[in-house]
Amino acid sequence: MPGELSVSLWRGGEQGRYETYRVPRRESQTVLDVVTFVQRHLDPTLTYRFACRVGVCGSCAMTVNGRPRWTCRTHVAKVAGDDRLQIGPLENLRIIKDLATDMQPFFEKWQQAKGAFEPSKTRADAIEKIRPDDPARRLADAAIECINCGVCYAACDTVRWKEDYFGPAALTRAWTLVNDTRDASNAARLRAVAGAGGCHSCHSHQSCQELCPQALNPTAAIAGLKRRTVAAYLKGEIAP
């Protein structure tokens, strides 16, 4: 597949601009390959983030032709029909430099939504048997493959509009743990996601579901949290 791509890359911080590079087109080329080519052959000062290159670590998400995507698993052939690519940093996060954003708020919100597993047993206890076909386990399993790439967070209108909103990834993680029968802190978790930045701010626009590279459904997870927190509130188990 000979030819050339016209690639616009975001350069600089918040006040930066797009700069255009010419990159040779190759067979089975990914967007991450394109960015790597620019850094290795055209401008070594280009800053971007990646690690595994195989869709596991969630480090390399960027905005590609206006949509957030995991760049290591996004083939150029799928997104650059006219041999043009515009690659920018993820939206809804502060730009550190070029294509690298500050992910700190994303992970802080994950913590605020009580996204960390709290064990209910010690290592001295017997291992609890969890049936894979148990309904709660199925719900927990549905979103267990989240790789925290930040694509859903960058795609979310509510995150853009409401600074304290936890976002789809953090709330999906909370829903996973709410359904994990081994977890000991569900009351605190439901309280956390029932507050101002929690699940009730979601407008169900479903951009997260549309763009999640793992084909997860954060909108459904958030809807589950809404139902669960409303039930807990009406029973008097949590207060806003």
């Binding site: 409401k162 101002a196 929690g198 009730h200 701010s201 409303v230 949590i238 806003p240």
Partner: protein, 109 residues
């Protein structure tokens, strides 16, 4: 929006669904029959049923819209949460009392 506001907004929406349908049906009925204001008032005056129907409608709408406006302000304007609370409360009160006055005119005046 926290869970308390969410429950109030959804509950008032659920109350309004049948009320809105009846209200729209009424508008069609009134316009097709060519009823005048005097015709309408003669039917609503002194009616406990119409007072209860529109009283509930006005109350649910003012709560629902107040919460909705608060949400819109918090998401689409730079004002603080406190200011949004104040504005939403005043907006809800405006709807409640203007609506209550309308019900009063329809049924009692």
């Amino acid at each position: 929006m926290n869970v308390k506001l969410y429950v109030w907004q959804r509950a008032t929406a659920a109350i309004m669904v049948p009320l809105v349908i009846i209200h729209i049906a009424l508008i069609f009925y009134v316009s097709r029959r060519g009823l005048t204001a005097a015709d309408i008032l003669s039917r609503t005056h002194g009616s406990v049923l119409w007072a209860a129907y529109y009283g509930l409608f006005v109350t649910a709408a003012s709560v629902h819209a107040g919460i909705g406006v608060r949400n819109v302000l918090l998401e689409w304007s730079p004002i603080s949460e406190r200011s949004a609370d104040t504005f939403a409360f005043l907006f809800g009160q405006f709807l409640l009392w203007t609506g209550a006055y309308t019900v009063y005119v329809l049924v009692l005046a």
